[in-house]
């Protein structure tokens, strides 16, 4: 898969001295969905803003479709669509005119058939003649997506696309993103909803304090950093963990009917077989066992708490 965006040693330091990005390098492949995760002020939006042209970098290069964003900015920007974090729309303009306007800005000839297709795909066609100020927050956000898609971009940036959107609408957004992926659009999204990244992204990048801590395929990241919990359900409840098992880090449930054992999937020995043997040795009868993978949120917190410099782009 070829890289549609190549970021090399990108840095941004504001006049105030704040370093928003430090030496970020990353290749984004054509057709993939990459999610950028990080706490507030981590540098996610700055990274997107630099690529899109809103923020001037202090170092490094970015190429979009082979075009340098500073020396060949017209060609680079034609490939990009941006859905900003803040809802910003002309309040007294009709939905359809907003989309037509953006299409014109990108130098495209009027194409009402395509505009209709975009509005229908985002369930906005019925609202085409409504003023944007009359729309709900979720609809406004969809108008922003429609505008960003108005010129058929190859790369779409979604800066926290589902912030403040209800659960049903969030699901709808995910479907839209999935549809775009099927159409071959490369998508870069930032989000606070970790389940969103887990659900949609092919790869996840973790940013903290302006540094790209790592980039991994979502499944690999989950496997690599994800801890699993083994829950052992007991036939007879225990009053306390037997002394012989005290050094195993077991947790006994309040009703004494289950034991929880956390293990690292990356370890050579998980200790599960030994644990089950020891339980049998203590005469503890097991009814059932189950495992649970830790959520991306837990993975994320682990990474941010222990920053790594290693990046696999």
């Amino acid at each position: 898969m070829s890289a549609i965006i190549q970021i090399e040693n990108l840095s941004k330091q504001y006049d105030s001295g704040t370093k928003a990005l430090s030496d970020v390098s990353l290749d984004i492949h054509e057709g993939e969905i990459i999610a950028l995760l990080g706490p507030n002020g981590a540098g996610k939006t700055t990274l997107i803003s630099v690529i899109c042209g809103l923020v001037v970098p202090t170092g490094g290069t970015v190429r979009v479709g082979g075009h340098d964003i500073r020396t060949d900015w017209r060609a680079a920007r034609k490939l990009i669509g941006l859905v900003p974090q803040e809802i910003a729309l002309e309040p007294f303009e009709k939905v359809i005119n907003c989309v037509r306007f953006t299409r014109g800005l990108y130098g495209e000839a009027p194409d009402d058939a395509y505009v209709e297709q975009v509005l229908r795909s985002l369930a906005l066609w019925d609202k085409r003649d409504a003023m944007t100020r009359e729309l709900s927050g979720g609809m406004k956000r969809r108008v922003l997506i429609a505008k960003a898609l108005s010129h058929r971009p190859k790369v779409l940036f979604l800066d926290e696309p589902t912030a403040g959107v209800d659960v049903a609408l969030r699901r709808e957004m995910w479907e839209v993103v999935d549809q775009l992926r099927r159409e071959g659009v490369t998508i870069i999204l930032t989000t606070h909803y970790l389940e969103e990244a887990e659900e949609m992204a092919d790869r996840i990048g973790v940013i903290n304090k302006g540094q790209l801590l790592l980039v991994r395929p979502t499944a690999e990241l989950m496997g690599e950093f994800g801890k699993k919990t083994l829950t052992v359900e007991l036939i007879d409840p225990l009053a306390a963990i037997p002394d012989a098992l005290e050094d195993r880090g077991l947790r006994l449930s309040a009703d004494g009917r289950s034991l929880a054992y956390e293990y690292d999937t990356r370890a050579d020995r998980t200790g599960i077989a030994r644990l089950l043997g020891d339980l049998a040795g203590q005469g503890i009868m097991v009814r059932d066992v189950s495992t649970r993978q830790s959520s991306l949120e837990e993975v994320f917190m682990t990474l941010v708490a222990e920053p790594r410099q290693e990046v696999t782009a």
Partner: protein, 256 residues
């Protein structure tokens, strides 16, 4: 730099003009009512005491000045509001991430602001026909001065809109600078009517050159040579274009 993105220019121009026509009544009615009031006050009340200025009926003499006053106010306010509103509403990001540069954005916004101002000035000219007999000696130059002045002050308004961080700042330059310059720039009198010292001071006012050139196109009368007026407006356009280019190149008040 590759070629100009003309569809981008048209998109901005069309968007701005649509906004103007959406509020056509208030856009046109307000300046027309103001002009009628000027005719009543200056033309009828004061004009009754001043029979003529350099052989031109006073009511007719002030027509170019009134048009110039309107052109300057409308150009500055249209262009400054046009670019400030996207900054205020946050939609400015669209102009910064799309393949339009300073030329397209300036042509779109300034072109629309100037077009609106010229349209309003022509409506005022037509309104004046109801009050005084106005004969235009050089119609081509009248239009040329009108368009060039509208462009020059729309460019200035555009810079004000880029600079402004609040609606208060947006109003302060037109109110504190432009309007006094117009009133002191010979809109309602000839600089020759001033004492020699004040005539010299008045000639430091750039607006005097615009009003003078414009009045020459109507009556063949000028306070300063017409060529100087043309140079003044051309110089203003060049300086403003250079400033706008610098603003977009550096991202001042636009990009972080």
């Amino acid at each position: 730099m590759s070629g100009i993105n003309w569809p981008g220019v048209w998109a901005i121009f069309h968007h701005e003009m649509t906004r103007f026509f959406r509020t056509i009544m208030q856009s046109l009615l307000s300046p027309v009512v103001s002009t009628v009031l000027y005719f009543v006050v200056f033309g009828a009340a004061i004009g009754g005491r001043i029979q003529s200025v350099e052989g031109v009926e006073y009511g007719a003499f002030i027509v170019p000045g009134l048009m110039m006053l309107t052109i300057l106010q409308q150009s500055v306010s249209n262009a400054s509001f046009g670019i400030y509103f996207p900054k205020f509403s946050g939609t400015i990001y669209e102009y910064l991430v799309s393949p339009v540069g300073w030329i397209e954005v300036t042509l779109g916004f300034v072109g629309a602001a100037a077009a609106k101002a010229v349209l309003i000035a022509l409506v005022i000219l037509m309104t004046s026909f109801f009050f005084v007999g106005v004969h235009i000696l050089h119609p081509f130059w009248m239009l040329a001065f009108l368009v060039l002045t509208a462009l020059g002050f729309s460019l200035l308004g555009f810079i004000i809109g880029l600079w402004a961080k609040s609606f208060e700042q947006l109003q302060i330059v037109p109110m504190m600078v432009i309007t006094p310059l117009v009133f002191l720039g010979g809109a309602f009198y000839s600089a020759d009517m001033l004492p020699p010292f004040w005539e010299g001071v008045a000639k430091l006012n750039p607006v005097l050159y615009l009003v003078s050139g414009f009045r020459w196109s109507f009556f063949g009368l000028a306070d300063v040579p017409v060529g100087v007026s043309l140079v003044a407006v051309a110089l203003m356009i060049a300086v403003c274009c250079a400033a706008i280019r610098w603003i977009f190149a550096t991202g001042w008040r636009l990009r972080e």
